[in-house]
Symmetry: C2
Subunit: 248 residues, 2 copies
């Protein structure tokens, strides 16, 4: 067990760098007990544990524990209430699957970290087999995405693929790509049959799916809205669709 009381300690400075995507090449930070317990339960590789002295008993017997001051913990955390713990976790990117047989969610350039995290959490809840993100989507290892994912990245595989790779994988596995639009010329999602193999595509918050995605997708779908709102929040729309297409 180490004790660090100085903000200028090199270990603290290096850990804090993990707030920036460019430094998250092989590890990332999580904060709070819920995520930490998920990391332990799902046997993630925990590199370092930064904890307040008052919570030391909760990490008893663990390796790489460093006791820090509240000021240092706040520096390492993103939220104002880091709940006493921040940990550094090794990045273990999931290998790209050769076949995509099952239920998958593809996020094409979804940029809000809260939306990305919430959709991954919902895919996990709905029993999906994995989530695939385009390279321009929000990075899932930012503290904001991690907070809204609530540990779902420990439960299901998450990959990065651009559109070309996605369609290559989909075509190899004969998996239909269902892309969500706002256009009423696409079909009402409730006309979809029960399916247990598909890729559901959600697009960017402002622009929706790309023209190329719309052209290549096997089926365009939309959610009819009887009311007066012009659109749904993308994470809400994804939730409606995923629970309609859920594993029963």
């Amino acid at each position: 067990m180490n004790i660090i009381t100085s903000k200028s300690n090199n270990g603290i400075k290096n850990a804090k760098k993990l707030h920036q995507k460019k430094y998250r090449t092989d590890s990332y930070l999580i904060e709070g007990w819920h995520l930490f317990e998920e990391a332990v339960n799902y046997q993630a590789s925990i590199r370092q544990i930064f904890v307040l002295e008052a919570f030391l008993d909760r990490v008893e017997g663990m390796d790489q524990v460093t006791v820090v001051t509240p000021e240092i913990l706040e520096l390492l955390a993103d939220s104002k209430t880091p709940q006493g713990i921040v940990a550094e976790i090794a990045l273990e990117p999931a290998t790209i699957p050769i076949e995509l047989q099952g239920r998958y969610l593809y996020l094409e350039d979804v940029q809000d970290p809260g939306n990305v995290g919430t959709m991954i959490r919902t895919a996990d809840a709905a029993g999906f087999d994995g989530v695939i993100l385009s390279k321009a989507s929000a990075d899932i290892y930012s503290l904001k995405v991690l907070r809204s994912m609530q540990g779902s990245h420990f439960h299901l595989p998450i990959w990065k693929m651009d559109r070309a790779e996605l369609f290559e994988s989909a075509s190899k596995s004969n998996t239909p790509v269902l892309a969500t639009t706002l256009s009423k010329s696409s079909i009402d999602y409730r006309q979809l049959p029960q399916m247990d193999q598909f890729i559901l595509v959600m697009g960017n918050e402002g622009n929706g799916i790309s023209q190329e995605m719309a052209a290549q997708a096997d089926q365009l779908i939309h959610i009819p809205m009887p009311g007066r709102a012009e659109s749904l929040n993308v994470a809400v729309a994804a939730g409606i669709l995923m629970f309609y297409l859920r594993k029963f």
Copy 2:
């Protein structure tokens, strides 16, 4: 048309006070062109318009226009990109309905502004007849709620009622109260019949609905989750339920 270039101008100081709930007794601020256009379209009473000079042509012929500097606009806005306009709108609270006949959403102590705003927007999209908030729910006239509502408060009535008032109204109109829980001892929402008159209750993010609500509700429901996530984001859960119970 006025021009204000000083941050210490009293009009600016007073407008800025509307960021605080205690000063929002009879007006509130909105920011951005989308909300402003909704306010115009739905004939909200616009008290003051603060606009950058570059956008003056978009408010031509309107009353109470004040040209401000980018620094002042940023001071009045909450977001970093207020898009050139902030306006003060008169509060016109909807009168409490005597009868609740239709589809309603009740938010019991939902505290996150983004969740509250997103659920009101979703209720609007699903064709609900109104939204009712408990007094401990987030104030809908905060800039954060307004941003995620995207103008839905101009489309459908929103009331405040505590639990006792809610059940009094519900019982007068013979409207069943459906309360959402995480408990598997409640019924799967897909067992609900098609209904065109009900109040759907969503609870607090951390604690769910109150014990009193659970005891008084006519029907407790839950969303079964085949995956490994422990719960859904409350706005996603509300979206799944509202679109299941939507107006067709």
